[in-house]
Structures are given as C-alpha cells and as structure tokens.
C-alpha cells in the first residue's frame, strides 16, 4: 500500500525533472499510449505513464527503477503522446539526475573485452552517453 499525504515541502525531484526535460508532467492524463507502444515495456518495472504519475505524486521509487535504464530513446512514446509530452526527454532527465550524483550505470572498466572487441564503436559511444556521467 502506498501512503499519499498532502505535501508542504516542494517536490524537488519533480521540479528538477521538469527543468531538465522541459516537460509539464501535469498535462499527462494517463491514457497509456506511451506504454502500449514502448518496445521494451515488458522489461520495465514501472511503465512510462506510471513514472509520470509517481513523479507528480512524490512517490519515491522512480530513480531506483530499472525502467529508466531499459529505455532505449527510440522516441516512439514522444511521437504518439496525445498531450505532446516528450516522454523520452523525461526518461533522459531521470537518467541525468542519477548520473549527476556520480553514480554511473555502466562501469566501463568492467565491460568484458570480448564485448568491447566485437560491438560496433557506435554502440559503445551511445551506451556511454546514456549510462555514464
């Protein structure tokens, strides 16, 4: 059961995410179109529109979700949202909040040499841009 109370303190995470993403999360009406189209929603713990809801309600499990790292920035959600919310930017903002706390999601030094030797350079460049600070 999640307890929700009226807040007196400002929701700092929400403000930071809105600032970094440039999106107004309160316009979301929870239609679920983003999650329906997301190719990787099946791997996620929190669905995209759940992330928005938890942010606006101040429920503190968004930053520790797997979802923000499973997102591949394919822009499908952003292109389909009927409220013109760019969900891809919201996901990026959440990743950046974590990364700017000096918590890299991928430890470059621990990647196996077989992988480094085989994957195309563009995969490494993109992966590091999304997963490291």
């Amino acid at each position: 059961m999640i307890k929700i109370t009226a807040r007196e303190q400002p929701n700092e995470l929400l403000h930071k995410v809105e600032e970094l993403s440039g999106q107004n999360l309160f316009t979301c009406y929870q239609c679920g179109t983003c999650s329906a189209g997301c190719p990787f929603a099946g791997e996620m713990d929190l669905l995209p529109e759940q992330i928005i809801r938890h942010l606006t309600m101040g429920i503190n499990d968004v930053l520790t979700s797997k979802s923000i790292w499973i997102c591949a920035s394919c822009y499908l959600c952003a292109e389909r949202c009927p409220r013109d919310i760019n969900m891809a930017k919201v996901m990026e903002a959440l990743r950046q909040v974590q990364l700017r706390r000096n918590i890299d999601h991928v430890q470059i030094a621990h990647l196996p040499p077989e992988v480094l030797g085989a994957v195309p350079p563009m995969a490494l460049v993109a992966n590091f841009r999304k997963n490291t600070g």
């Binding site: 470059i108 030797g117 350079p121 590091f128």
Partner: protein
C-alpha cells in the same frame, strides 16, 4: 658601466609572490626563486614530459597548461606544477595482439566517451591534434592515430583536463606499437642486409680492425672512404668537404663556428 638588467616581474608560485627577471623559463624562474626541483624536472629540453604546469595570468579566468622548461615566465603568472598525471595504463602482450579495428577500444574503451570538445588539443604543449588522434583510434584507423600522435611526449596534460577521463598518451602509444609491429611495411632490403651480416659478411674485416693498434686505427680513420654521393658540387657534399670546417664528422659540432668561417 653596468650591464642593463632585465626587468623584474611578479610570479606567484605555491601561493607566494616572487620577483623574477623576465626572459627566464618557468623552470628557471622557480629555481631563481630559491626552489630546488627534485620532481617535475627532467630533460629541460621539452622532450621528457616531466614538467607540466598549470597557470593563470592576473585577473583573467582562463587556465593554461604548458611545459615549465619550454615556456617563458610572464608577469602576474600564478602557477603550480603537476609532476605526474596518474593515468591507468593497460597491460598487454604485443605478440598476443591482433590489429583488429576494435583493438584500441578493447583496451581503452573510454575513448568512446570523447565528446569532441578539443580540450586536449588546446592543452597540448606540442601542438598535436590530440582529439583527432583519439577520434582516429575510435574508428579503428591505427595508422592515422600513430601518425598524428608521433610527437607526443607523454606529459599527461591532456588527460588531466579531459571531461571523459580519456588516457590519450597510452592510446597513442598502443597505436604506434601496433602500427610498427603489424602494419608498417617491412623493408626487404634491410632484412636481406641483416641476413648477410648475420652470415658473417664482414667478420674478417671486423676481426682485423679489433686487432689494430691505436695509431694504425687512427690512420685508418683519417683515410676512410666516403660513399660516392649524387650531386658532387653540393656545398654540403661530405666528400668535397672532408677535412674542412664543414666536414660533418670531423669538425666541432658548433653551427655558429661553421657559419662564421663562411665555408
């Protein structure tokens, strides 16, 4: 009559102001100020990379990097030395490496984090296009990495400033090693010559020379034969100038002396 003294300028080092003559290198100025350099000093000729220095000038916000032995001290310089930039170097065995396109990425994957900001190139005291050689390494162009990084002296200034924590000089070093070992074409006439020598082509002559007296050896040296050179009338032709002040072997190694004789 007193010789004119150079102007004194202000240098701030380790938080203290010193008056030093202008015209000195940073390294000489630090020593003028009374310090004995036991770290951060090496060849004093801009080749060993031991003396990286970070400084700013007066009120300007810009931060500069340079080699202390190659840079003149300026008024209002506020500087600190970095005797050692800790870069993590990877262990590898050259014989076990294959020159695949991803080989440098395999050992230094952080080069994929390069944002092309050019901070490294701007920091380099050798004028090397550091960012471009890292980019070449990223796309597997080992030859270009080796060529562009050739003048690197491994001072580490670039790595100390890089926002992506890239280790530029070990990357260049690995590229040059791979290039030299696997990519550079082999010289067949050199290999043939080496085989000749190994088979004893000059063994008899060497033995004779080893048994000569010092006087006989000197005579032999004076009477040595030069190979015929194309362009006999070239003023720098060794045969023509043998024994003269322009002789590249015999004359004292002083360019000023050569020029002043007007030979």
């Amino acid at each position: 009559m007193t010789t004119p003294q150079p102007d004194l300028i202000t240098m701030q080092f380790m938080g203290k102001n010193y008056q030093v003559p202008s015209g000195l290198t940073i390294m000489a100025a630090i020593e003028y100020a009374g310090y004995k350099l036991v770290r951060g000093s090496g060849c004093r000729a801009g080749f060993c990379g031991a003396c990286p220095t970070i400084y700013h000038k007066g009120e300007s916000h810009k931060l500069y990097t340079a080699l202390a032995c190659q840079t003149l001290v300026e008024d209002q310089m506020c500087l600190v030395q970095v005797p050692f930039v800790p870069v993590a170097r990877k262990r590898y065995v050259m014989d076990a490496l294959q020159p695949t396109p991803n080989i440098i990425l395999q050992y230094y994957p952080e080069i994929a984090g390069c944002v092309a900001c050019n901070t490294c190139t701007r920091a380099c005291p050798q004028g090397i296009q550091v960012m471009d050689y890292i980019q070449a390494a990223l796309r597997g162009d080992i030859q270009r990495t080796a060529e562009l990084s050739f003048d690197c002296i491994s001072c580490g200034i670039c790595s100390s400033r890089c926002p992506s924590d890239i280790k530029h000089y070990p990357v260049g070093q690995l590229a040059r090693r791979i290039y030299g070992k696997y990519i550079l074409p082999r010289s067949q006439h050199l290999a043939d010559r080496v085989s000749e020598l190994a088979a004893g082509a000059y063994q008899d002559e060497m033995t004779t020379l080893m048994h000569l007296s010092l006087e006989d050896l000197k005579v032999r040296y004076e009477q040595r034969v030069f190979e015929p050179v194309v362009g006999q009338n070239d003023e720098h032709n060794a045969v023509r100038q043998w024994g003269s002040p322009v002789d590249p072997v015999d004359f004292q190694d002083d360019p000023q002396a050569i020029l002043s004789t007007g030979a």
